[in-house]
């Protein structure tokens, strides 16, 4: 039972305590249920801070390992294995940070089946934590697949009018990718005789150099893993589930989807593709960079054409995550650490945008851009917060987005792996396009003459709860924008180690 007290075990499974408590509560006690969920996720966030305190930034290796034999019979070699390193620490913190914020945002937005909602939300947190912490591929796969189930229900039960379609599409699309990964996991599991990452990483170079796994097989394995992750990111042209899922999902679902679930894809590339298949990674880098660049431009262009605000932000994710992928496959220190930071940035700024859109939607029940206008006069606080988040999203210097995108582009320009500065050059246009669609959105909603909605609704500005929901996000936007060093320090040693192994 000693493993129950490991910090990472607690971090991953603590939300289950909340689930158990809520299971035994009456479904009419909505506020009590909300408080239990809130306290549970806040405690989980507290545990994540404790984990950060125990984490040694200068150590590039896996830390705080909780490693116990799990299934060790009949030729199986599976461990219960959780650990954290510089590649995942920020994502773990982001997850723990965004979950209570999302729950706070549902306080008045979700009135129907609150009990089920909170149970699924807490289960989702368990799944997400597990994905970022699991160091055994069997465990990782379980958590990875498991996150689909609560999210499927969140979209399908509390979503918009086309929620069933969106939920099923989300489920099948994502599963389509992960089943190929399953075959690849089993394949390398059989070849190396283990599912646990450090042992696998120790065994693989020998298998590659001896030809036991031929280069083209390595490439196939890379592609199988990449299929799972690229759908999740989502990379162009596998993104078509994203707008549907985002538009139909309830606000809190969108925040978690954009903030954390998409990062599972980019994290997967970082943790598994780059480490397990080094040669294939180097070979594939220009192609991934190409897809990422197309995604950046395509996402930005399609964003601009949207009439629905939520869809606009959803497509902007395709563009932003294109930057993450571009930076990661630059395969140099700047690119990769920029990519990791940009994952966090995107979680903060897009999370904030979804939250804010949700807040105004609660009052107006429409997301059509054309019916808004002149909101600034009626809702100045809302306007200010929205402006900051928008500027952060488009990468204005002084805010977090700039740091991430700048580092990524710097990395991509000088990347040997990508081999051409053109990708970075074209992607830079994406930054300008981001300014175009974000400012277009802002202008349509907040400036100009008062639109239909603004005239006919008694719009109230943000209340204290809503301000408390977004304030922490705004704080971090400024912090990362003005003084990113502490964040880079957490990432740098692990990235260095990763790249050393790669080249």
């Amino acid at each position: 039972m000693e493993f129950l007290l490991q910090p990472l075990t607690l971090l991953t499974f603590f939300p289950l305590v909340g689930v158990l408590v809520i299971l035994f509560m009456k479904s009419e006690a909505k506020n009590a249920i909300r408080w239990v969920a809130m306290v549970t996720t806040l405690v989980t966030f507290g545990i994540s801070l404790w984990v950060l305190g125990l984490f040694t930034a200068s150590n590039p290796d896996l830390q705080l390992e909780a490693r116990y034999p799990w299934i060790q019979v009949a030729g199986w070699n599976i461990y219960y294995y959780l650990a954290v390193d510089g590649l995942s620490i920020l994502l773990v913190l982001l997850t723990a940070f965004l979950t209570p914020i999302s729950i706070l945002s549902t306080w008045t937005a979700v009135e129907d089946r609150v009990k089920d909602f909170m149970i699924f939300f807490l289960l989702l947190e368990v799944g997400m934590m597990g994905v970022f912490l699991a160091q055994d591929l069997f465990m990782f796969y379980i958590f990875w697949e498991f996150t689909l189930v609560p999210m499927y229900f969140l979209i399908g039960l509390w979503g918009g009018p086309r929620r069933i379609y969106a939920a099923v599409k989300f489920f099948l699309y994502t599963m389509a990718g992960s089943i190929l990964m399953l075959v690849a996991i089993l394949f390398i599991g059989i070849k190396t005789g283990t599912f646990n990452m450090p042992e696998m990483l120790a065994a693989l170079p020998g298998l590659y150099s001896s030809g036991a796994i031929a280069p083209n097989v390595q490439m196939l394995l890379f592609i199988a893993f990449a299929a799972a992750f690229a759908i999740k990111v989502p990379m162009w042209p596998l993104h078509s589930w994203l707008p549907d899922a985002h538009v139909e999902a309830p606000t809190a679902g969108s925040v978690i989807l954009a903030g954390v679930l998409l990062k599972m894809g980019t994290y997967g590339f970082l943790r598994f593709n780059l480490q397990l298949f080094p040669q294939a990674t180097l070979q594939a880098a220009p192609w991934i960079a190409l897809l990422a660049t197309i995604g950046i431009i395509y996402g930005a262009a399609v964003s601009y054409a949207q009439a629905d605000v939520k869809k606009l932000v959803a497509y902007s994710s395709v563009s932003h995550l294109g930057f993450v992928m571009l930076g990661m496959f630059a395969l140099n220190a700047q690119g990769v650490s920029g990519a990791i930071l940009q994952m966090i940035n995107h979680g903060l700024s897009t999370g904030a945008l979804f939250l804010l859109i949700g807040m105004v939607y609660e009052q107006t029940h429409t997301r059509e851009l054309k019916v808004y206008g002149g909101l600034w006069k009626v809702m100045p606080i809302f306007g200010t917060v929205m402006l900051i988040s928008s500027l952060s999203s488009m990468g204005l210097p002084g805010l977090n987005g700039f740091i991430g995108e700048f580092t990524i582009l710097l990395g991509a320009f000088g990347s040997d792996a990508i081999g051409s500065p053109w990708f970075a050059g074209i992607s830079a246009i994406g930054v300008i396009m981001a300014a175009v669609y974000i400012l277009y959105m802002f202008q349509k909603m907040f400036l100009g003459p008062a639109g239909e909605v603004t005239q006919h609704h008694e719009l109230k500005d943000l209340n204290w709860r809503e301000i408390a929901t977004v304030a922490p996000l705004i704080l971090f936007m400024f912090w990362i924008g003005l003084y990113p060093a502490p964040f880079f320090n957490l990432i740098a040693p692990a990235v260095e180690k990763l790249l050393l192994a790669l080249h």
């Binding site: 299934i71 069997f138 796969y141 498991f146 189930v149 099948l172 190929l180 075959v183």
Partner: protein
């Protein structure tokens, strides 16, 4: 032929107990009043429980009997226990159902016991003659059970259809046996094995083995021998369908596994390709056809066909010495997964079925989650387990199975397997969508045994996925001495 030793009876003692119990039950049933036939059910369950207890005590014991015609080993004990559990679950599902549907007659339970006996004999058979005997013993009661809801036309049709096609399939097995005997002069598995590896293998033997495969392909509902399945599963009383889709499948696979692994390894070069195609076809056709079903019984029939395909994958590498044992163990493990999930699902179906076959459309499941959240949660667990999703046993089972197939060098087949799993997600999710996301007003039959079965299988399906070790161990020790 020598007179059997006294100790040889121990090898089939579970069967003897069960047959005597069933015969006595036939007599006792005469004295049980018509409106209280539930007592017969209880007594039958007691017989099964007694036999189950004895079978569990047989774990680790080995032996052969009656001139090597029956065998007792880890494999047979594993299968016997699984079959007895299926029998018990089958009775618990039938208990309230037959009363509600007005078909409560004592023979139901005795027939079920005889069928269980046949299935167990199948697991212990070490000779093609015994295989034939067991096949008849398990099938004939099932034909009767399928038509048990007479004079309901659908049920009668199911019975006749099952009987005709079943007899046809048995014919294949007999003919195959004759050819094998013609080629080798042997009917015992060990005799065939030595004759075949001694070089007498030829076209005749291969054809014989292939015919036996066809016969069993029918029993386990593998494509292209699956045509009867949807009609029979739909027409039979649902409690019978539940038992049939689990028990007959276990027995069929048990026989296939033992016959092919112990008698025909020499033919693996020819048969592996056939098995590969059979497995692939079964997975593809089963899953694709299931999509268009609107009746839950038909959908589950196609899903059971699809799952036969997954289990068939475990056979494909059977000639490859290094992986045979892990792939057979994976097959056994998957059988357990399938049986648990299957009974749970059917329990839910029975709980929602109304008289005259109403309440069986998938659309009738709308709104369950609001009214009966626990039932909806259990059904979701079963659907996820069928898809192969965590946190359920189905996921572990598929993981194990695909690992065995890939280790055997059949990555292509594994890819077909995972892609068809994706297809299956679509129709299994439709049940979940209806339960949770559509409005409706379903009415549940509150029966304590049904509720217990549902809870028991749902909890096991989830809990075992976290501690599958002992089941792995059981499955792999079961095949350890098979060769």
């Amino acid at each position: 032929m020598t007179q059997p030793e006294y100790t040889e009876y121990y090898t089939i003692l579970p069967l003897i107990i069960l047959v005597i119990w069933a015969c006595l039950l036939l007599l006792v049933d005469l004295f049980i009043p018509k409106d209280r036939k539930g007592i017969t059910g209880f007594l039958a369950a007691m017989g099964l429980a007694l036999t189950l207890g004895y079978s569990i005590s047989q774990i680790g014991r080995e032996g052969t009997g009656f001139n090597g015609m029956v065998v007792l080993d880890g494999f047979s004990t594993f299968i016997n226990i699984l079959i007895l559990i299926s029998g018990l679950l089958g009775i618990s599902l039938a208990y309230g159902y037959v009363k509600r549907m007005g078909i409560e007659r004592g023979e139901y339970y005795t027939l079920l016991l005889f069928s269980v006996t046949g299935m167990m004999l199948m697991a212990q058979a070490a000779d093609l003659i015994i295989v034939f005997l067991a096949l008849e013993l398990l099938s004939i009661p099932l034909y009767v059970l399928a038509a048990f809801a007479r004079p309901n036309l659908q049920s009668e049709e199911a019975g006749v259809k099952y009987f005709l096609l079943g007899a046809f399939a048995t014919g294949f097995v007999v003919y195959g046996t004759a050819l094998v005997f013609g080629a080798t002069g042997q009917t015992s598995f060990s005799g065939i094995f030595s004759a075949a590896s001694g070089g007498t293998s030829g076209l005749l033997l291969t054809i014989g083995a292939a015919l036996i495969l066809v016969g069993f392909g029918f029993k386990v509902a593998a494509v292209p021998f699956h045509m009867w399945t949807p009609d029979v599963y739909q027409g039979s009383p649902t409690a019978v369908t539940a038992f049939m889709s689990s028990g007959a499948k276990i027995a069929g696979f048990a026989a296939l596994l033992r016959v092919f692994a112990t008698a025909f390894p020499a033919l693996s070069a020819d048969l592996t390709n056939i098995l590969w195609v059979l497995a692939a076809l079964t997975m593809i056709v089963g899953n694709l056809t299931a999509i268009s079903q609107t009746n839950i019984k038909r959908m589950l029939a196609y899903s059971s066909i699809a799952h036969a395909g997954y289990i068939l994958m475990a056979f494909v590498p059977y000639g490859n010495k290094d992986v045979t044992s892990i792939s057979i163990a994976a097959g056994l493990f998957y059988l357990v997964t399938y049986v648990l999930t299957n009974f749970g699902t059917w329990a839910v179906v029975i709980a929602l079925e109304k008289a005259e076959g109403r309440g069986l459309e998938i659309a009738d499941y709308a709104g369950i989650a609001k009214k009966y959240p626990a039932l909806a949660a259990a059904m979701t667990v079963f659907m996820l387990s069928f898809i192969g999703f965590p946190p359920t046993l189905g996921m572990v089972g598929k993981f194990y199975l695909f690992r065995a197939v890939i280790a055997g060098g059949y990555s292509g087949l594994a890819i077909i397997g995972v892609v068809t799993s994706l297809v299956s997600a679509y129709y299994y999710l439709r049940v979940v969508v209806n339960m949770y996301m559509r409005e409706g007003d379903p009415v549940l039959e509150q029966e304590s045994w049904l509720g217990l079965t549902t809870a028991f299988t749902a909890i096991l399906t989830v809990a075992l996925s976290f501690v599958p070790q002992w089941l792995f161990l059981l499955a792999s020790t079961a095949v350890f001495r098979l060769f």
